[in-house]
Structure formats: structure tokens, C-alpha cells
């Protein structure tokens, strides 16, 4: 039997086992379903953005007709003209949806207080403990280990239990376990990765992004196969090996991340975004009750260029109204900064946790690469804030200089330009994941090798001695 045919014999052994075949087909089906669900979610978000864009055109036309003209008032326009901002799904979002199903990707903002408009929904960090949406990342992080357990828990113990181990160990050949682990590893990656590649082609995703996702999956998969070798070579029966591996899966993907998430939440408390909204609104409401001069004085602290242009006749003027909103935003600026700092701190701790927990590390890499993590969400908020600032700067000259607002002016209102995806490679997380994966594989191999040396020199029972000879077949 030549080298290729020994591989094909190993493949036959693998695929003729009903359990292995079912596990691989199940993984392929789950991965396909996850990619399909991810594409459906992305398409839904694109469709939503398109629908809102169409509504936006009609809405703006109505505002223009009603408020702009020879006698147009900038204040009315600024009040009624909601401007669309949108965060279209990044190209790799179909594989790792991350925060995109939780956070808004369409916001219509106007020149009023920003903070009251930003937090229509909360920003929080569920990625440590909650399984989240069913996407490819979910299948990789939570379900792939179960398939590895199904295929790998009895690599050694199964041979012992069927009585083949002594015969296998009596043969002078080499590379048995390397071939078997390698074949299972390849089959698992193929079942998991094939739908991703197809999804990437359908979504015209960047090849480099898909390649990095596959690399991440390969490293994570390596970690679990290494663990399977380590445990399988250390225990006597398949049942105990499977139970131990399931225990590892529960601890590493569910319990520890959940506890860590609770610890991080306790260590780094984050105020709710809605609190910022309320605080800003409180300031605005308070502005109605205090002398207008007082509001303007607060406004001029940061906008001295409008001093001397605050005078107006009557009880109400838009310039006072917008100044009041601006002051409301600025009053909660410190709270906003603290809120963002807390989120960033949590994100940092999550990244650190990912250096030791492969599941969390994998999630960090995938979501950062897809730009669907908190960082991506905050970047969208930043772009909205920058756009909001440009809106204010556009309207203020009309308001403070009492300029007419014409149709031509209306057409000059700034429009939001969607930011480009800022997905990046989290090298540190990927490196740590690589180290964990290689470490597990190395320890698994070492465990097999060491058990051989130990049993031969110490004269343990024949069973253990035979088991110890795995080393020579492995290497």
C-alpha cells in the first residue's frame, strides 16, 4: 500500500464509521446553515437601509417644501430635517455578525442634542457569556469542539477497548496517530470552512479576510484536537475521555467566560447609555426654566465666535433653542467620556481574557476582523457624532446671523457618508490563539511520547506499557 493509499485507507476508516460521518455531515450542515443565516441577516440589513433611504428622500422633500423658500427659517429646517446615517454591514459580517443584531445600524439625526439621539438602544458587551446570534463564528466557537470530541475522544482508547492497540503497537511502522489526527483535523476544517468560502464568494468578501478566518478556525480547531490527544492519551476508557472533554468544553466555553463576564461587569461598571440621554434631556429641560442669558453664557464657553450675536426679540428664538441643546450635550460630555472609557476598558479586559481562553480569543479575532465588535459600533457612533457636528456648524451661521434659508441652502445641508469598514487583524489575539493551539498540540504529542518512556523504564503493568508504546508509532 503506497503512501497515498494508506491515507485513503485511513479516510475509509474515518468515513465508514457512522458516528464520524454523521458528526462531519452535521458540522457541514450547521456551518452551511450559519453562513446562510448570516447572509440573510446581512441582506436584511442592506434592505432595511435601502428602505429607509427611500423614505428619507420623501421625508426631506416634504420638509424642503414646507420650510425652505424665500421666507425659509433655518431653525425650522434644522428641527424637522432628520438626516440619515447608516452603517452598512461590512463584507465579512455574514460570518461574524457580532454586535450588528443588537446595535442600531441606521440612525436619523438632526441638529438637536446628540446624546439624546445616539442611545436609542444600549451599547453593551455580551460577547463573553452569551452565545449570541447563530452565525459561522457561533458554529466555530461553540459547536466545532463537540465535533472534535466526537471524532477524537477515542482515538487511542477506542483502539485499546477493541483490543487492537497491542497489535498496532507491535508494528514497526510510524506516523499512525499523526495521520489519524491530521485526517480528522482536515475533515473537520473542510466541513466547517467550505460553506464559509462559498459564502465569501457569494458576498464578494475579501480573500484575505476569509483566509484569516480559516486560519483562526484552524488554530482553534488545533487547540481542541491537542486537548483530545492529551486527554485521550491520559485516560483509560473512551467514556471517561469523552466525559472529561465535554467537561472541558463546558468550562472553557460556558462557565469561565460567564464568570469572567460577571467579574468584568462588576470590576468595570458601565452606566447605561440611556442615562446619558436622560441627563442631556434634563439639562435641556432645565434650560427652559433658567434665564436665557445664563444658557448663552454656558454656550459661549466653547463657542465664543457667536458672542454678541445672541440678541433677539420676543420670547423664543431658534439660536437660543439650539444653544440650549448644545449646552445639554456639553454638560454630559464628562459622563460620555467616562462611559466610553468604561466600554473601552471592558473591551480591553475581554481581549486580555482572550489570550488565555481560546473561545473568547477566537471571537475577538473574528469580530474585530469583521468590524462587528464594540469598536466597530463605537466607530459608527463617532462618525455620527462628526456628522452631527458638521450639521450644527452648517446651521449656526444661519441662526446666529439671521440668514434666510433658501432651497439652495437646503440642498447644501451636509449628507452623511457611510464610513468604510475598519476591520483589522487582532494580531495579539491571533498570536495568543496560535500559541494556545500549538501548545495543546505539542502537549498532546508529548503526553503520548512521555507515557511511552515512563512505562518502559518504570516497569508498569503490561497494559500501560503497551499504551506507552504509542510514542514510537506517533513519532
Amino acid at each position: 500500500m503506497s503512501a497515498p493509499s494508506i491515507w485513503s485507507a485511513e479516510a475509509r476508516l474515518l468515513l465508514r464509521s457512522g458516528r464520524n460521518l454523521v458528526a462531519l455531515i452535521l458540522l457541514l450542515a450547521l456551518s452551511s446553515a450559519a453562513v446562510w443565516a448570516g447572509i440573510a441577516e446581512v441582506e436584511h440589513q442592506h434592505a432595511t437601509i435601502k428602505r429607509v433611504e427611500a423614505e428619507q428622500v420623501r421625508d426631506l422633500a416634504a420638509v424642503a417644501e414646507a420650510n425652505a423658500g424665500p421666507e425659509g427659517d433655518a431653525g425650522y429646517n434644522a428641527y424637522y430635517a432628520f438626516m440619515l446615517t447608516q452603517g452598512p454591514p461590512p463584507p465579512l459580517a455574514f460570518a461574524a455578525i457580532g454586535q450588528r443584531d443588537l446595535q442600531p445600524y441606521v440612525l436619523r439625526v438632526r441638529a438637536l442634542g446628540l446624546q439624546a439621539q445616539l442611545y436609542d438602544s444600549e451599547v453593551y458587551n455580551p460577547e463573553l457569556a452569551l452565545p449570541g446570534v447563530f452565525d459561522w463564528a457561533f458554529v466555530l466557537i461553540y459547536l466545532l469542539p463537540l465535533v472534535v470530541i466526537a471524532l477524537g475522544h477515542d482515538l487511542v482508547t477506542g483502539e485499546r477497548e477493541t483490543g487492537r492497540l497491542r497489535l498496532l503497537l507491535s508494528l514497526p511502522g510510524s506516523g499512525l496517530w499523526r495521520r489519524r489526527v491530521g485526517l480528522r483535523y482536515g475533515a473537520v476544517l473542510a466541513a466547517l470552512g467550505l460553506p464559509l468560502v462559498v459564502g465569501g464568494i457569494v458576498m464578494v468578501a475579501p480573500v484575505s479576510g476569509i483566509a484569516i478566518m480559516l486560519l483562526t478556525a484552524a488554530l482553534y480547531c488545533g487547540f481542541w484536537f491537542g486537548l483530545a490527544m492529551l486527554i485521550g492519551a491520559s485516560l483509560r476508557t473512551s467514556a471517561t475521555a469523552a466525559a472529561t472533554m465535554i467537561g472541558c468544553w463546558i468550562v472553557l466555553t460556558l462557565i469561565v467566560p460567564t464568570l469572567a463576564n460577571a467579574t468584568i461587569a462588576r470590576t468595570v461598571p458601565v452606566a447605561k447609555g440611556i442615562d446619558l440621554t436622560l441627563a442631556q434631556r434634563e439639562m435641556v429641560h432645565h434650560g427652559w426654566d433658567i434665564p436665557k442669558e445664563e444658557t448663552f453664557e454656558r454656550f459661549f464657553v466653547n463657542h465664543p465666535e457667536w458672542r454678541g450675536k445672541e440678541e433677539f426679540e420676543g420670547r423664543f428664538h431658534w439660536k437660543w433653542y439650539y444653544a440650549m441643546h448644545q449646552v445639554g450635550d456639553e454638560a454630559v460630555a464628562a459622563d460620555v467620556a467616562a462611559y466610553r472609557a468604561s466600554l473601552a476598558r471592558r473591551e480591553e479586559l475581554t481581549k486580555t481574557l482572550g489570550f488565555v481562553l481560546p473561545g473568547v480569543g477566537t471571537m475577538n479575532v473574528l469580530h474585530r476582523l469583521a468590524d462587528t465588535d464594540i469598536e466597530g459600533q463605537l466607530a459608527y457612533q463617532d462618525s455620527v457624532a462628526a456628522f452631527h457636528k458638521s450639521l450644527r456648524e452648517f446651521y449656526y451661521p444661519y441662526l446666529f446671523e439671521d440668514r434666510m434659508f433658501t432651497q439652495a441652502d437646503f440642498r447644501r445641508i451636509p449628507r452623511y457618508e457611510a464610513r468604510h469598514s475598519t476591520g483589522t487583524l487582532a494580531l495579539g489575539s491571533l498570536g495568543a490563539l496560535g500559541l494556545l493551539g500549538l501548545l495543546a498540540l505539542w502537549l498532546g504529542s508529548l503526553r503520548i511520547a512521555r507515557s511511552g518512556i515512563g512505562s518502559r523504564s518504570k516497569g508498569r503493568g503490561p497494559g500501560m506499557a503497551a499504551f506507552g508504546k504509542l510514542a514510537e508509532i506517533t513519532h
Binding site: 475509509r12 523504564s457 503493568g461 506499557a465 503497551a466
Partner: protein
Amino acid sequence: MNMKITSTPAIAIEGLEQSYGHKQVLRGLDLTVKRGEIYALLGGNGAGKSTTLSALLGFIVPQAGTVRVCGIDPAADPRGARATMAYVPENVSLYEHLTARENIAYFLALADAMRGRDAIEGALTAVGLAEEAWDKRLSGFSKGMRQKVAIALALARDVPVLLLDEPTSGLDPRAVLEFNRLLDAAREREVAVLMVTHDIVSAVDIADRSGFLGQGRIEEEREASASGPRFDLNALHDRYARAGEPA
């Protein structure tokens, strides 16, 4: 019968000692098996038969004494020693999902012993496995048929030493006779056969020498008679019953 026995021992064990924890299993075992000789190693449970095989296969490092297979120390060069031996374990379990032919080809590949289709079919023919069974999966095979496949594997490897662990256990009388014919053929090819067994009857039918393992060493060794009954079965049985007691 013993015409093919040569003077060079294929298996040579001298003063082998082995203990597990506080239990000393082998206490200076001496044993030799020459090319073309069939040696039946008899002994009760725990006598050290499996430990002897483990030492020959390089599964354990002897605590004292020497072991050589075709001149190779299995502890120092296990792969080299194993290349000279074929081992048939007591409970033959090959891969149920593969056919008889695939099993042999696969195990030969694992042993780095590439053989052609003819060699595999020759071995299957030699062990008397019906041709229609060659391409059937082992899941439908009886124990005797599986045993034949395992022995065919050993034959196909074409090595000078054959180690058999309870080879006739669970075989019907007809299968035992067929098995003995195979061993005869192996002897003709100058293969050294060490069979470890409880089964005195099958041992006397085929062995050239038999040894009783008791108290960690060979307590008594007998050679097959060249004329008349090969062994005195009553005497052997009586000795077997007293294994471990002073001779």
C-alpha cells in the same frame, strides 16, 4: 519434523527479570527458540506469559537480563526488532469497517511492509479463507475467520519470528487443525514460532518444544518425541496442574 530447526536462536532470552510494583513476575527467565522451531510456552494466569511477549515486542524494558530477537535488542531498537516479528494477539480485532483484503493491506502499510496483491491473496489462500470472503467487511466474520485474517497478515509480512498469544482460544476443532497446518507451513519456511497458551492439547499437536512457566522462570522443558506420541499428554497435564510448585 525438526529437520528445519537451525542452531541459531531467533529468540534468545537470558535471565529476564520483571516486576510490577512489589510483584515480581519474571525471575531470571531463560528461553530460546530457533528458526524453524515451534515453542509452546505454557503457564497459568499471572505466570508471566504476556510479560514475556511484552519484553519481546519492546513494550517494556527488562529490569534485568537480556532479550534478543534475531540478534536485536527490542528495548534498544524496538522498530528494528518489530520488523522481524509478527504478533497475533489473543483477541484478534481488526477493523470492522474494512474488508479482509483491505485490513491486510492497511496493516501491512502500517508495518512499512509493502506487498503486492498476489502476496495478500496468497496469504489469504494459505490460511484457508474462502475467496468470496476476501472483499467482505469483517463485521460479518466469525472469530475463526478473523483469526485467519490476522494470521494471513502475519504470513504476508513474511518475517522470521511469529509470536502467538493464545492462538487457538475460541477456535473450533476444525479451525485448530487448519491452524496447525499453517504452523507446519511456517516451520517449513524456517519461521521461529513462540506460542503462548493455556491449551495443552493444541500445543502438543504442533509444538517442537514446550516449557512450563512457573515462579517467574521455565520450570520444565520438554521436547517432542520423534517417534510415537509427541508428548505424554497425561504427564504434561499433571505438570501443568503443578505449575509454580517445585518440580
